[in-house]
Symmetry: C2
Subunit: 710 residues, 2 copies
């Protein structure tokens, strides 16, 4: 019965590797029966794949992000439950607590009872030795480099700053390897430093509220991936999410009660600081500001009253740039917020103000006349200019989206480029510091490979040295229209690991297959920090299926993805902040593993008529074909699953076609009678259902063309 | 292939029920082959079981805790995405936010897009109508009753207080039912009120720190189960877990940095209040107080210095009852804390002070002499008397463990009985208000049935009416020696659902099988509130197995349990606050479902030679037998799993024996040669491994005796 277990376990194998010998214990009773023999072969293959996926002995090739230089050496530092850490530093630094967290994770991961978190006075010890020269400052361009040497007798981690040492500790954890004797760290010499100084993740807590614990656990994951900026998107049309003591109606009326108190903000900043992560707040103005106007309609360019926006999109309300009250208000407000956030940078948004309210407002018309402002863009530049004065007075550097780039604005601001690389180039060449977010909108559910290819400094831009120096890095952006605290982690991770590698590792680290090879382990390791991106799906499935049996929907989930880009919004549901996010597109994840593996197997089979690949393909297709029955059965007593039936049926039909095509390939004859029907089924399988799409249609189409010709 | 899917899915069926017709679609190709036929039968059976487990049409018999009275009626209130809620009340109450949370959960559970959380002015609406007479006070004996009537056109929920209405909303959610057309609420008339006014859960945040989100989600679960007191155990030898502004060294030196700020405490009290839950803090003194003495050694009865205790047990340090400084300190401290916690009750612990420091302290000797105190118990009574004065001054009623009951203490305090029911009886008859915790120590991993049987007012105590009136209810106690934030939920839930029913429902609700029948659905429903008790296991398994494939350990986990009582402490590991809680006993849960089902199947088979039961038994044993190979394979690349091998091997050997016994039963002949070996294997299987035990040894022993005689 062991044989069937893997077939039913839909965790797809991560690498196709058949070198391992199949253990004797799995040769069972079926040996004389042909059909059973085929089943056995299938199963043995699957088992082999699993074994290979699990086989990750020395971990030097598992690091993510890839360090600047890794030199393997001979030997193993063997981990035992007597493992000491010694820290040499001049004063207490972040590494004291960092080393404790490191040991807790090492304990948890190994289940070894390492007895004492206390750091030792002796130096060096036959364990982990950390040398820190100074306390790092949480600021752009701070030294985050480290050197690491593992020998069979000790580990030496050497860093200029405690922040660099924290980065190094994450590498040490990733080095943890196993062999017959147990856990060890492979001997090696690593030198490492980041390529870009600004490596961020934006979290929008406005469209859907994200409570403190979501921020906490994502800060942990960011630290694990060597990201160093949390860009905290705190105000939007749909919510004003931070307590203002100066203007309490902002959060009291501008939110549904879900906002961060200033105590919580301080605590989160301290939490991030302890992990070497800067916190840059964003207050998006003059547009995207409806929630401000619920409590303060006097700030808007049209009279109001206003209510918190529940829908998504670009809305008309915008601050009144022609009223001095607005500036008085903002001056006080910004003074309050700049005092709360210690970082030197402060983000004022500035995107997507379409100026419709401005066009209708006579005060704005008068302002244009008075100040000689031709277009609304000029008005916004004037507005930003005024903000810039306040921020400069408060000791901050201004950051904003592409739109804030106007000739009249001095170059000591930072442009966050979301419109495209040309915008980034333009800004950098005009002498502005810039960072990239175009192509890094992780809410759009695009592939990891797509994001991995987004280089803040792509060769094709042909930036000169000076302009290159203005490119600070980039940020992945987690916009929150379609995420809840339950699902958010699955939209950020593990894809953002690849983005983090793009920001940290050398430009030459570009092997997509190798990235995908390393991703599953890194993803799994993020769980120990509390990340929900793997476990969340069973939770939603149990709720939808009203059952402990999550297998049917997990199986379906392996082969579908939520629609990419903005397509989910055009499928019949007018999303609002109140729409439940417990449906199939929330259970599905962007860029699942199985379809990639499947496509690779199909292509190999097409190219080489590879029997093993044929078995892999057939294995999956049989599983999907039969899975539809299970889905149907569960749907009888689970109404929320009934909406899933059409896509499951499409998949079943597609699988039957795939199996038919495989049969024809094996026999070497194409059944002309079935051609038309097959093509129709394949085409039909491209229709999105429940905002999801089947991700193996293309390879089946290729099989079809192999059989019938193009 | 559908057939095998269930075999590999180790979620055990929840009820053995074979009434459902097996759908035709699952009759496949195997029909001519005998071995295949047996496999098919097995699978069909398993599938049948799954279908039955999923079948939960009308939900009137799924309520937990069982209401006082439930009358079914004819008709169904059909749920559509136009579902309005109307509230009739004189002023804003907790039900406004409560109804929003209700709708969010209903949305999430049904995936229906119920468009508007806003409550309607019209009354009644063709939806849910809530009538609240007044704002409830968060105090003992407050009215928590409600009446609920569901007809095919509307739902009426009527309550004296908003707290009663919140309780009723939980019942409405549990009533959600399904049929072919979709979701509905079955027509019915329910009248409900709690049996006991004090229905609590103690959470120890000291032995292992539990952060804010753990408290939040457990408050949600408590509300779902109609519990109404969070007993917050805030100080211990292992940590002082709350900020004191008067004596900041208490939390600064008495914790490792993990404590609740007063802001967080206020927020948690508000969170509990919104759910109709009182918060009673406990500061355990004079013993259990080592952590206080790290910053304030002057309070102790021996000079110090002190460090935070890392081990577990009963320790010597105790407050100095003979020094007026102690009382001065406590007066100020208690004034601070009683002002922070609004509840009328305040817990001062008082347990397990063995008085060793007192015996050696000449001041205490002098105190005894001066005050005529004979024993240490009298000294503690004197100490408590002093505390009582402070608390009375602060407007609080004192609560403490059994030990604080001394003749000299007036009867206006509350005794929490942990030593046994006799202690409870003694206190109640002496005129003290009492509540039960004996038998409700959920950290001890005992069975749900055991806890379910612990009645705060058992008939055998023969309390008179007056004494009965002193029994307020009880509390489940989540002591934290062996739990982490990852595992805590799995130790509280779902067993505490049964305890909640004991506290709320009539004394006559005692059907253990029926409780077990209702438990899995309630348990699953708790997940929507964020509880981790189901999902946590895969997280630990992936870490231990270093693989996405959680099936082998999930299979093992179905049939084992952590050792009960205090036995985990005697198995080789000297637990401390630093021991990793990521091992097999942390993955195993108390009282899993499968062994109960297995024992029932065995007993039925023994009694009636039931073929279907025999198949069920064989199915499980085959699974366990083969599972060991999978465990072995995973252990090759996962050293933390190697400690699991012995118990997996024991289970394999036991399964082989079980299969052998089944074969003999079928043939009707006992193989005398195997008798001795079989008995040895069965006995061997009782040996605990990794602080876990196999839970199907007894039924296998019974099979053995059926075959070989006693």
């Amino acid at each position: 019965m062991t044989l069937e277990i893997y077939l039913a376990d839909n965790s797809p194998p991560t690498t196709v590797c058949i070198r391992r010998v199949i253990p004797k214990s799995i040769y069972p009773k079926f040996a004389t029966n042909t059909s059973a023999m085929r089943r056995f072969l299938l199963s043995a293959l699957a088992l082999t794949l699993t074994l290979c996926a699990n086989t990750a002995f020395a971990q030097l090739d598992q690091l993510m992000p890839v360090p600047l230089s890794v030199q393997p050496a001979k030997g193993k530092f063997r981990l035992k439950d007597k493992f000491e850490v010694s820290i040499r530093q001049k004063e207490p630094t972040r590494i004291d607590e960092g080393a404790k967290r490191f040991l807790q994770r090492l304990d948890g991961r190994t289940a070894l009872n390492i007895p004492d978190y206390a750091t030792k006075i002796a130096f060096p010890v036959d364990g982990l030795n950390i040398i820190v020269n100074r306390n790092g400052k949480l600021q752009l361009h701070e030294d985050e480099s480290y050197k690491l040497q593992v020998t069979s007798s000790r580990i030496m981690l050497d860093a200029e700053t405690d922040i660099g040492a924290l980065r190094g500790l994450e590498t040490v954890l990733q080095l943890l390897s196993v062999d017959e004797e147990g856990f060890y760290f492979p001997a090696c010499k690593i030198e490492d430093a980041p390529r870009f100084p600004w490596r961020g993740l934006l979290i929008d807590v406005c469209r859907h509220w994200q409570p403190v614990e979501v921020i906490h656990r994502n800060l942990d994951a960011m630290a694990a991936m060597k990201l160093n900026v949390l860009h905290w998107h705190l105000s939007e049309d749909q919510g004003f999410r931070i307590e203002s003591k100066k203007f309490p109606m902002l959060h009291q009326l501008g939110s549904n009660g879900d906002y961060f108190t200033q105590e919580q903000v301080k605590e989160i900043i301290a939490y991030a600081d302890a992990r070497g992560i800067r916190v840059v707040p964003e207050f998006d103005i003059p547009g995207h500001a409806t929630a401000w106007f619920v409590g303060h309609p006097e700030l808007a360019s049209a009279p109001g009253p206003y209510t918190i926006e529940k829908k998504f999109g670009v809305f008309d309300p915008a601050m009144n740039p022609a009223n001095e009250t607005t500036y008085k208000f903002l001056e006080i407000f910004l003074a309050e917020m700049t005092a709360l956030f210690p970082d030197a940078y402060f983000h004022i948004g500035g995107d997507e103000n379409e100026g419709k309210q401005w066009d209708k407002n006579p005060e704005v018309a008068q302002l244009k006349k008075d100040k000689g402002l031709k277009e609304n863009h000029d008005v916004q530049a004037y507005f930003n200019q005024r903000l810039l004065e306040f921020l400069t007075e408060d000791g901050k550097r201004m950051v904003g989206w592409d739109e804030i780039l106007q000739p009249s604005i001095p170059t000591n601001i930072v442009i966050q480029s979301w419109r495209g690389k040309e915008a980034l180039k333009k800004a950098a060449e005009a002498g502005y510091d810039v960072m990239l977010s175009a192509g890094l909108y992780i809410d759009l559910c695009q592939s990891t490979a797509y994001h991995y290819a987004q280089d803040p400094l792509p060769a094709e831009l042909q930036l000169d040295k000076k302009a290159q120096g203005h490119v600070l890095g980039g940020e992945a952006t987690m916009w929150a229209e379609l995420i809840s605290p339950e699902t958010i982690d699955s939209r950020i991770w593990p894809r953002t690991c690849a983005i983090a590698e793009r920001f940290w590792s050398a430009a030459t680290v570009q092997d997509v297959d190798d990235m995908y090879r390393r991703l599953p382990k890194v993803s799994r390791d993020l769980e120990e920090l509390g990340l929900m991106h793997i476990r969340y799906a069973d939770v939603l499935i149990r709720r939808m299926a009203r059952s402990e049996n999550t297998l049917p929907l997990q199986t379906l989930r392996a082969v579908i993805g939520p629609l990419q880009g903005y397509k989910r919004h055009g499928q019949g549901i007018a999303y609002s902040t109140e729409t439940p996010l417990t449906r199939l597109p929330d259970i599905a994840i962007p860029d699942p593993t199985m379809p990639r593996e499947f496509a690779a197997a199909v292509d190999l089979h097409i190219a080489k008529a590879d029997v093993m690949q044929s078995l892999v393909i057939r294995n999956w297709l049989e599983l999907f074909k039969n899975n539809h029955h299970s889905i149907e059965h569960q749907a009888e007593t689970a109404p929320a699953m009934r909406a899933v039936l059409p896509i499951s049926q499409q998949l079943q039909a597609l699988s039957v076609v795939g199996i038919g095509l495989l049969d024809m390939l094996e026999k070497g004859e194409a059944d002309a009678q079935r051609k038309e029907g097959y093509q129709k089924t394949i085409t039909q399988a491209r229709t999105p259902v429940q905002e999801c799409e089947i991700l193996i249609v293309d390879p089946i189409q290729r099989l079809f063309e192999k059989v019938y010709g193009k």
